[in-house]
């Protein structure tokens, strides 16, 4: 009996052995070709280049970056820029999505229709097109430095959005703006595009969560005397969030990956700097793209962890 079982398993072992051999051969061939090609081009292999001087400028950097900075500094600056835009866009996207989700369930007919139209329009237009529109059409239409729009201490023109930093208020100096914090038009366009596009999907996720709460729950809340808003906050939202959180986490991951479109408008994020500038300048595309892949995978992993923790806390929470 044992022999018969083993004989059945034999084909499985053979297939796996052949498969392993195939994969190994492909890998070996790929590596051999790669080294031959790199040798022919005279390009070195390895991550040593990270210590070398970068020699290029980055338009926006949250850490000090100058002409003497290394490629590693550039990688860090790029990573921080990506995290910045992902954070801004996520927050903005969530706010819009909550509004639109409630809008789609509102009793008011116009509000409901407006929300539905919003979702359909901005979901079906490609994200790249939306970002390009914000960057080339909307922001390009802003006035020049000399005619900057002003609200309080804030300056807005086609060079960007300038916010006061404490006492340091932005003011026009010649052809440029000095002082304050500068938000690049690239960052504005990318944040707006990402936030609006992803808010359509998030709104549907939130709405599905709210709708999934059985109507008996709302009836029961009514019978113990809870009014509309209180019932929504105490009874509906916790149950809705439990359903929506995993799907919403996936959408935030999609948002993080979509931020790579920064390369289309030149915002200095991971894709643009590491996958673009560094890869072309050092000709070490493999190392650069490996860095890109690892960094995005790490960001996604972190988002998954955060969502997982939030999910567990939501499940464990006991009221009262």
């Amino acid at each position: 009996m044992l022999r018969a079982v083993l004989r059945e398993r034999l084909s499985g072992y053979v297939v796996q052995a052949l498969l392993a051999a195939l994969v190994a051969w492909l890998a070996w061939a790929a590596v051999a070709n790669f080294r031959a090609n790199m040798h022919a081009l005279g390009v070195s292999v390895g991550f040593g280049f990270l210590r070398a001087q970068a020699g290029f400028q980055i338009a926006q950097s949250l850490v000090p970056f100058g002409p003497a900075s290394s490629y590693l500094d550039a990688v860090i600056a790029a990573a921080l820029n990506t995290l910045l835009v992902v954070l801004l866009a996520s927050v903005l996207s969530t706010i819009i999505a909550l509004l639109v989700a409630f809008g789609r369930l509102a009793p008011h007919g116009i509000v409901r229709s407006a929300s539905t139209v919003y979702v359909e329009v901005f979901r079906n237009i490609p994200l790249l097109l939306q970002i390009l529109f914000w960057y080339f059409s909307a922001i390009a239409l802003l006035p020049g430095v000399a005619d900057s729009l002003q609200f309080g201490g804030v300056l807005l023109n086609n060079r960007g959005l300038f916010l006061p930093l404490g006492a340091d208020r932005p003011h026009v100096e010649g052809f440029d703006v000095a002082g304050g914090i500068a938000i690049l038009p690239e960052l504005m366009a990318l944040t707006l595009g990402l936030a609006i596009y992803n808010s359509t999907f998030l709104a549907e996720i939130f709405r599905a969560g709210i709708v999934s709460v059985p109507s008996g729950q709302i009836e029961a809340a009514t019978t113990v005397g809870l009014s509309g808003t209180r019932a929504a906050l105490l009874i509906v939202m916790p149950q809705a969030l439990r359903v929506a959180l995993p799907a919403a986490g996936g959408q935030y991951q999609t948002l993080a990956k979509a931020s790579s479109l920064a390369a289309a408008i030149g915002y200095p994020d991971i894709m643009q700097i590491v996958g673009g500038t560094i890869a072309s300048q050092t000709s070490q595309a493999l190392e650069a793209m490996a860095l890109v892949v690892v960094m995005y995978a790490t960001i996604n992993l972190c988002i998954a962890l955060v969502v997982g923790v939030a999910n567990r806390r939501l499940l464990a929470r006991a009221h009262g």
Binding site: Q16, L19, N33, M38, V111, E120, N124, L128, L261, M289
Partner: protein
Amino acid sequence: MTARFVRDAPIDARSAPVAAIAWPLRWRRAWFATPAMSALSLLLLALFAFACVRFFDWAIVRAHWVGQSSAACPGDEGACWAFVIARWKPWLVGNYPIGQIWRAWACFGAFALFWIWVVRRPTAARPGPVLLGFVFLPVAFLLLLIGGGPLAFVAPSQIGGLLLTLVVTLSTFATALPTGLCIALGRRSELPLVRALCGLFVEGMRAVPLLAVLFIAVTLLPMFLPHGVDVDLFTRAVIAFALFNAAMAAEVFRGGLQAVGRGQIEAATTVGLSRFATLRWIVLPQAIPAVVPALVNIMIAVIKETTLLSVIGVNDLLGAVEIGAKSPDWVGESNILTSGYVFLALAYLAICYSLSRYSRRLEPSS
């Protein structure tokens, strides 16, 4: 003491009373019930009217329809539809030689007929023939467009615009679906190595942006091939799209396969079906129709993803507009580029929205 009650004559059903509130009054109830709601309604209506008037003004009243260069659209006042109309050929077919353009029209026509046939099928019909059609159409289109043999050869790089979007979408769909199905089945395999490789592929593809996969395909793929072999940009892009979306399709199929309960497979065993027969006759026929709406959603996503081709220099619909706006005839006014974007937005909106309506129609009404 409470008295007893007995009904002698039953009450017959009466028809419902006509709504006591006439139509205009009902609107007033719904939208103007409280001062706050009235203010909101008025505000929304005012905004809507304002936006409509402005857009109509820009798009129709002050638009420029005729012309061959940026001189036809001075200023920022109105849309420059002349830009869109004059460059119809790059939008539709890219650089395809004008003498062979009948082949492009044939492709568009064939696809239109195919799509009409698909949409008119009842939702309960088997998805098999449609999926097969989706696999064979791109093969036929590529053969027709590229040619060789009796037909004049046209380099793939000359295909552009909407034609390219169509061909890439169909090719991606055609390769990603079967591959994705195989990978999804591989993840359920009993062989641990197969399961691991398939799982690794799917999780790996899901962790990275599509743009990164495209970059890798474009810059790195030549590095891994032996020195003489060369793959052109178009093929590299399609490979990247196919692999990425195969992972997405694999996830969709995995959901569908899991939804077929274990009881089904147990029952199949008890009537003596082999593993392969169970798969062929019991599992797949239940799994695939269940995921067809999700597959249509993948197709919609692919259409939107084709815009990324413009970033790596392939001349798709979006790329054609950008190239047009930078060409010497049309460079200059920002209004020209905006008009191009608005036209594209409407085009993609029309295509993707109608596909999503179709997908919703396919969903089981529960």
